[in-house]
Symmetry: C2
Subunit: 346 residues, 2 copies
């Protein structure tokens, strides 16, 4: 079964993916901070039982992972693929994960809240992601009484998640806005519109390869659809500006843009050692080049840059090689992987 | 007819070429500084007549150029190919050139001295170059009485050339010595041995692409063979050190060297704009890679890096395109030329 990030979607030119997560807590258990070891075990068993009892489909398409039993490479690889949060693997209490085999759906158990229901869709399709997350949410709510307040809505560990418990986010690739310094201006303005921006790996992480996450700041005082409408309107504006700027840069200095994109391909195709940071920056140039029609793929094999983005992260790379690698060995292994998986161009 | 720099020679791994020039003056004319316009014209006619009267061969293989009648691109292109000196094109008095079609032999007329007889051979073969220069010299001396002093030898405009009038020089490619900082130490020691070092384009020019010229400082007090023996011994030592250091670097960090050489190929193969300086530096890495067996050429077409070195210099590039190009246009034209002329690799 293909993972969501292996799908090739022509609409992914600026908007790589859409993600939704719902924060939920179960009434009968103390909140995560006070749950304790035994409470955590009971919570996890309870959720597992309810989820997998629902249907044969659940057993076929979903798997349960005891996070504590995974090795560190496997855990970090899941974080790199955005399947789970760093918090889920860093807690001393027991934590669990129910995840669909295509990695589009996941339920983190005993993270900051009892349940974090997450759904990812390729391209700009947050409605689809929300629809899937809501289905899982409804299904669990039938069996598990959630902590809910008529005035505030869903109750959560952190006040910022109270209300809908919804965080909707888009992963954007905006190399033209970034290279011209316009991204910074847009990002600074965004907080006024209730939107926050983070790097590819969450809060505090840098926007590597011109990839950024944009999400709603508040989950209270607005309906799910209002939150999403507001976010969509902002993201569409950013995407439009990025697309217009790409055309402008191409018209004004076609040779420069061609040079940057082709050099990126040349280095990725021939390097024998490459750091994650450099590779991601070059893949970003290559993605831009392919979307602008500068780089034309020859192979039957398509170019899926975001899949490469994820595959060459340190833990995913080690997971593939099945070995524990030093930084130098990873750089060599990464260069080999890219060389083998980069399609030929015209 | 192939030019000397188009020859592929496996022995060119460190020593690219060997060059000899003989400075001569003709007794009956004042030295160049006092020759004047009319004198210059008489001198040139006299040398042309004597040279081309010698045989049918001379007419077939040699051509005469009135330097003042060449356009500036053609003149600079000749300088870039080391066929003539910058001085020959910068003089206000009339200057002339007799050059063989393969550009191995040339006679500059009315440069710093009346005659500068030059011969270039591919690889380490200064004896061949000297032999050819001597043949031309003997032939001219039969008809033209040279300014010669029994005590000092051949008399020249500049005292440094008095005696044999010989400057013998090698063009060396020493990337390993340069990248490790050892070249600087060697170069500083060389003046003690009567050897001087210059960049690829003569005095004051930088050693671009790790290419240097090494030549004798003095031409007096030693026989031709002593001058050459001394220079050969030093050049052989430098070449041996370069070869040993290449092996050492390869053994100690094979991946790093492979990465550098393959990246150079990747950039040269895909760039759409490239400066002369960057191209020469990358071609130097590529040359090293090919000589170390890291880069393996696929085509029937061989790799002749030094030919590319010369072809992508500004004036030669413009000469090929037949157009006057801006710096930006040259960078694009250079990238195109390299892309088309770089052989495929395994």
């Amino acid at each position: 079964m293909n993972k969501w990030y292996e799908e090739v979607d022509n609409k992914k030119d600026v908007i790589i993916s859409s993600r939704v997560r719902l924060a939920r807590n179960i009434k009968k258990y103390p909140f995560a901070a006070k749950l304790g070891r035994e409470g955590a075990e009971q919570l996890i068993e309870n959720v597992k039982e309810v989820f997998f009892a629902q249907s044969e489909q659940a057993k076929k398409f979903y798997e349960y992972y005891d996070i504590g039993e995974l090795n560190s490479v496997e855990k970090m690889a899941m974080v790199e693929r955005h399947a789970i949060s760093p918090m889920l693997i860093n807690k001393t209490d027991k934590t669990g994960l129910i995840m669909s085999k295509d990695e589009t759906m996941s339920i983190m158990i005993n993270e900051e809240d009892h349940l974090r229901i997450q759904s990812i869709a390729s391209g700009m399709d947050i409605e689809k992601a929300l629809d899937y997350a809501n289905k899982i949410d409804d299904l669990l709510e039938e069996q598990l009484a959630y902590a809910f307040d008529d005035q505030f809505g869903y109750l959560t560990s952190c006040p910022t998640n109270v209300g809908t418990g919804l965080r909707a986010s888009y992963m954007l690739h905006t190399p033209a806005l970034e290279s011209t310094g316009k991204l910074q201006i847009i990002l600074e303005a965004m907080s006024k519109f209730g939107v926050s921006v983070r790097g590819i790996y969450g809060e505090g992480s840098q926007g590597e390869g011109s990839v950024f996450q944009v999400s709603n700041q508040k989950s209270i005082g607005q309906s799910e659809s209002d939150i999403i409408e507001n976010l969509n309107s902002i993201v569409k504006q950013i995407a439009d500006q990025e697309r217009k700027l790409r055309e402008k840069l191409f018209t004004e200095n076609r040779e420069k843009m061609e040079d940057t994109c082709f050099r990126a391909y040349g280095i990725l195709k021939y390097a024998r050692e490459i750091s994650s940071k450099e590779a991601v920056a070059l893949l970003s140039d290559l993605k831009l080049g392919a979307e602008m029609g500068i780089i034309k793929i020859k192979d039957e094999k398509p170019l899926n840059v975001y899949e490469l983005f994820l595959a060459i992260q340190p833990a995913n790379l080690q997971k593939m090689s099945g070995l524990s690698l030093s930084i130098e060995e990873r750089d060599i292994s990464r260069a080999n992987y890219i060389r083998k998986n980069l399609p030929k161009i015209v």
